[in-house]
Amino acid sequence: MTNVTDYLCLTVSNVAIEYGTRRVLAGISFQVRAGETLVVAGANGSGKSSLLRVICGLQRPTRGEVTIEVGNALLRPVDALPLLGWVAPDLQLYRELTALENLAFFAAVRGIRCTRADLEALLAEVGLDGRGDDLLAAYSSGMTQRLRYAYALLHRPRILALDEPTVTFDTRGVALVEQVVAQQRQHGITIIATNDPREERFGDYILRLGR
């Protein structure tokens, strides 16, 4: 894996997003470096979630591009999957599998060697200790959101994109987000999309979308 001390810079240049005839983003550019946290604020439909999806390579921008400079390599998001972590209301895991089975599967496809104990430790980290053998179908929405963090942190990504990070969370959940963001600040980039003014305190910078 890449070294956690490698130079890291995320560049969004002139990204525009359109859905058919509806324009969501009209060309946006910014740079974020390791250790920085960016909050993208805006109302519903302002394009926050789409921007995060574009940064994670889950969606092609209509125009413009996203590049990730790590060490001395310049990568497109789709080639930088090991660097990217994504938490979003859109993120769904396999409901017919247990939490541990889900994590074990994603670890396996990512080529991460880990034991059951490692995965249980990860679940404990996000506050799901002892619930690893439950099917996801039986999870509450708050627990599902916690498991999304476990999924996103599994490979210790350098770039963490959090869409509505505290949605469905109780106060303990909010504390978890704070802890995750603080940890990410040590070695990587965090981008938070939110319409909750209370979450703007996480950011070093705030990007406001919408007219």
């Binding site: 390579g57 769904q92 496809v109």
Partner: protein
Amino acid sequence: MDPHVSSQSISETSAPATLPAAPLLTAAWAVFRKDLRSELRTRYALNAILLFAVSTVVAISLGMGPLTVSRNADLPLIQAALLWVAILFAAFTGLSRAFVQEEEARTAAALRLSARPTAIFLGKLLFNLALLLILVGLTTVLFIVMLRVQVGNPGLLAALLLAGSMGLVAATTLVAAIIARASVKGALFAVLSFPLLVPLLTAAIQGSANALVGRGWESSIGSLQVLAGYTIALFTASLFLFNMVWES
């Protein structure tokens, strides 16, 4: 072990043009096992295709019952055609499941972020092959028992069924990935797959008829060659094209 070659040192010294990822086959195997586990728990596809296969064979044997007693020179060809039609239609009901499920449960994004497209394709292909082999096995046994089919050359029939299944899976897995992104999925899968499957069906039916009659292996070398060439060509094309289907 060769002490001079160490993958560790190579990846550290050379510039990381691409990031290290899981070995392709390991990841593909993980996708296959995940799909298998999901399927065994939910039985969405398995129930559908097996019940469909049973209904088709029963329907055919209800209609064809008296025909088996008469001496019709074309009987093996008719039986082979009916067997493959039963397999084909059962396959149409189940083989799109692996990709459609990811889109409908909205889990595709999680998968897209974690695994390389080729690994996903190979895993799904393997899963579809496993599903189809179960289907083909069951349909064939039911066919032989219920329609009192005489199999002259069982080894050849098995080889043709295996080769035909591999071709069917090579052709339909990519189509399943395509239709998973469309708004009407069910009918579209059959509509898109069928024209691609005509060469495969023709070769498989003719070869299977030879096997039922009891002709030797040399009678169906041509069919097996067509099936093998078809499978290789469509598999290779799928590997190239899948990245473009899977990209978001």
